[in-house]
């Protein structure tokens, strides 16, 4: 990716004529989102989901001069996992449970708040959270924890339509930012801890009418069903709770799927359990699957493969190739051909002992640990849903990792009861006296310490899968990553620090203690010639820019 003449022209135009680009967000604009780096038009910044910005006003030489410009305090004590959108100087963010707020991106002052009263029947597994929005035209799209999709007018914050995707009382929920492709809104459902049957579905952006639905767990009439025994598929999981990516040339969307159900007692669901823990390549017009690749067949570890798919066009063995890069919760970094799903390379990026490696087709060579022994990575995985980043300038893939973190897994029989947990595990921490660590730590004291292992930002050379550098953290790292054209890397962490690293070397250049756990992805934008960097921490959304 180059900083094209078109990009330069558009950026210059936007700075000279602030109101000139206040047009609707067309599907054409979404296709070329990186050409207007002053905006942040999708959850991951672009359809390729590289979370890389062409802005470079803030650079390694001046990043030390970043200062806080404004804070938005969420009216909620739930986890704050949002990545905002910014369109022509207006920021749109979400706060728990399902509020949308439009604010001035320069000052943080609010224009309006849309509040959605969620159903008391909703029961998301892991927090009443929302990660963001999608936009098309003047309409925002939000998925809710009670499994509704709502269209909201971006100008005045009123709902335009509201459709229910599934029953919240059965454990279905939605926490992801939807993906808009052409005239459709595409999204999936969470609920893998409740024995749901996952699916991805598309809706007309204009009307909310459902266009297609793809079941991630095949029924007896669908291919892949033979990887299940009897009726196990009916509660087979395969939830889809993170935003996918899109390749317009191939006209394919890419989606990661979650664990099979029950999570940990694999004995009661023999088979590979397709399409759990997989990446699916779906036609956005029809929902038909072109290919799939399963990362963790017959998963007993809850290694959801819901990570954001990162699309890169690069040379592979000397020839141009459309690549799909994936830092998986199971501890392996993968490179696939995204045209076909062919496995190209894979290598662990943390300590792994559940598999000794991957075979020529990318299938893990399973090495189940004896009862009572520690399996690496542990329940929360080597990474999780936090967005990785790819920098076309450095050619490196960056991921937040949990290192030396393991769990003693023990499956127990689980009976399916609609709307109740269907997980089937009696898992333990390998550290005496420590509880089994949870996905997030909400207090200021790190009581887990060694029980949780440690965190890191790992820079991976995709050509080899080797680590180029590593930035170590004491606590594990739950933050997404942003890189910029000036070779900066922004990342948070559970300790509450917001950090800028040199993307080429991993050297720490700047840090600010924001005082609250960071479990969101950073993003950047520009208004009136000034670049801003934004991150959610604790219950606040913090925005920085260079000191005048």
């Amino acid at each position: 990716m180059k900083y094209s003449q078109r990009t330069s022209f558009l950026l210059a135009l936007s700075l000279l004529i602030p109101f000139a680009l206040r047009a609707q967000v067309t599907s054409e604009r979404l296709l070329h989102a990186t050409d207007e780096p002053q905006n942040w038009l999708t959850y991951s910044g672009s359809y390729a989901s590289q979370r890389h910005s062409l802005l470079k006003q803030v650079d390694p030489s001046n990043v030390k001069n970043l200062e806080l410009k404004w804070v938005f305090q969420a009216q909620s004590l739930q986890k704050f996992e949002t990545t905002p959108l910014v369109i022509d100087g207006i920021m749109y963010l979400t706060q728990s449970p399902n509020d949308v707020i439009a604010v001035d991106a320069k000052t943080g002052r609010a224009f309006w708040v849309y509040h959605y009263a969620t159903s008391p029947a909703s029961r998301p597994c892991c927090g009443i959270v929302n990660r963001g929005l999608a936009i098309l035209g003047d309409t925002l799209f939000m998925a809710t924890v009670d499994a509704h999709l709502i269209a909201i007018d971006s100008k005045d914050g009123h709902a335009i339509w509201n459709v229910k995707l599934a029953e919240a009382s059965a454990g279905y929920a939605m926490t992801m930012a939807p993906l808009v492709v052409k005239d459709k809104v595409i999204l999936g459902v969470a609920g893998g801890e409740f024995g749901v049957r996952g699916f991805i579905s598309a809706f007309e952006a204009q009307s909310g009418k459902q266009v297609w639905k793809f079941d991630t767990i095949p029924d007896p009439d669908q291919p892949g069903h033979d990887t299940w025994r009897g009726g196990d598929w009916e509660h087979g999981g395969g939830a889809v709770w993170m935003t996918g990516s899109y390749d317009p040339e191939l006209n394919l969307t890419y989606w990661g799927t979650g664990n099979p159900g029950p999570d940990w007692n694999a004995e009661q669901r023999p088979g590979d359990n397709l399409y759990s823990d997989s990446v699916l390549a779906l036609d956005p017009d029809t929902g038909k699957m072109k290919w799939y690749f399963q990362f963790t067949p017959h998963d007993p570890y809850d290694y959801d493969s819901v990570q954001v798919p990162v699309l890169v066009n690069s040379n592979w063995n000397g020839a141009p190739r459309k690549l799909l890069m994936w830092g998986n919760r199971n501890g392996f970094f993968y490179v696939l051909d995204r045209s076909t799903g062919k496995f190209l390379n894979g290598k662990p990026f943390v300590k792994v002992n559940w598999a000794s490696g991957l075979d020529a087709n990318g299938r893990p060579i399973a090495t189940p640990q004896p009862a009572g022994a520690t399996t690496y990575p542990g329940i929360q995985g080597a990474t999780n849903w936090y967005s990785p980043s790819y920098s076309p300038r450095t050619g490196l893939f960056y991921i937040s990792a949990w290192e030396n973190y393991g769990t003693i897994f023990a499956g127990v029989k689980a009976d399916y009861v609609a709307g109740t947990r269907f997980t089937g595990g009696a898992n333990m921490s390998p550290v005496a006296g420590a509880e089994n660590p949870t996905g997030t730590r909400t207090g200021p004291v790190n009581t887990y310490t060694e029980a949780m292992g440690s965190g890191a930002v790992v820079a991976i050379d995709p050509a080899t899968g080797d680590k180029k550098w590593k930035y170590e953290m004491h606590d594990v790292n739950t933050s997404g990553i942003l890189t910029t054209e000036s070779d900066l890397l922004f990342v948070g962490g559970r300790e509450g620090y917001f950090q800028a690293l040199d993307a080429r070397t991993g050297t720490l250049l700047w840090k600010q203690n924001l005082g609250g756990e960071i479990i969101a992805g950073p993003m950047t934008y520009q208004v009136d010639g000034k670049q801003y960097v934004t991150i959610a921490s604790g219950n606040g959304l913090f925005t920085f820019a260079l000191r005048e």
Binding site: G89, W112, D156, H158, A159, I160
Partner: protein, 267 residues
Amino acid sequence: MKIRCYPFRAIALFAAVCALSLAQGPGVQAQGQDRAPEYYKADIQYGAQIFASQCTACHGTSGDLIPGVNFRAGVFKRVVTDNDLRATITTGVPGTEMRPFTFGASELTGIVSYLRNMNSTDAKNAMIGNAGRGKELFNGVGNCASCHAVNGKGPRVAPDLGDVGAVRTADLLHRKLVDPADNLLPVNRSVRAVTKEGKTINGRRLNEDTYSVQLVDEQEHLVSLTKSDLREFTVLKTTPMPSYKDKFNAQELADIEAYLLSLKGVK
């Protein structure tokens, strides 16, 4: 910079700022007292309609079919305050036929207002609005749709009314229609700003603080202004929304109120 409020001057306003201001903010009567200080005709009539469709099967048209309960006479088993009434309606009475009802705030205000005034209300001859005819008036001769959107369809210079029937009572809607200027929600007031460079910006206020103001301008853009950048900033107390007191007769007002009350938001 001058900051002042002064009467409406037509030339200074863009015609589309019909700040009906019904879509946000407080709209139901205070609930922290035994009885509302006053019950309003529009609420009573709205409540009478709801009562007729939802309550008479058990309570009867006079509200006296349940032993020990006589609404017209003000006799209740356990209700003392208006809040008791609301609670009984929304939670029901366990062990009886009285089930919980999921009424919105404006509907509850209507029912409570009617129950407190059954004795003096001639429900049979109450003015019953027709929501269908009201919708025609809204989109037709009333010209409401030239400023107001409903569920995202229409202009944005005045508030979207898609959920106005859920957040505003019948009485407030009635008063707004007949006397819009005196019933303007402050945040929705029209503002006029002139920058130091001489650019004039007219719009509907959405938010304001000591140093800045947020509005939607005549081009339907969200605009945030820093007050120190302004030469003049004016909040107008008037509204270009016309009064419908003389434009619509009583039946037409009832019709349009019925339509607005039917707008409960996107579910």
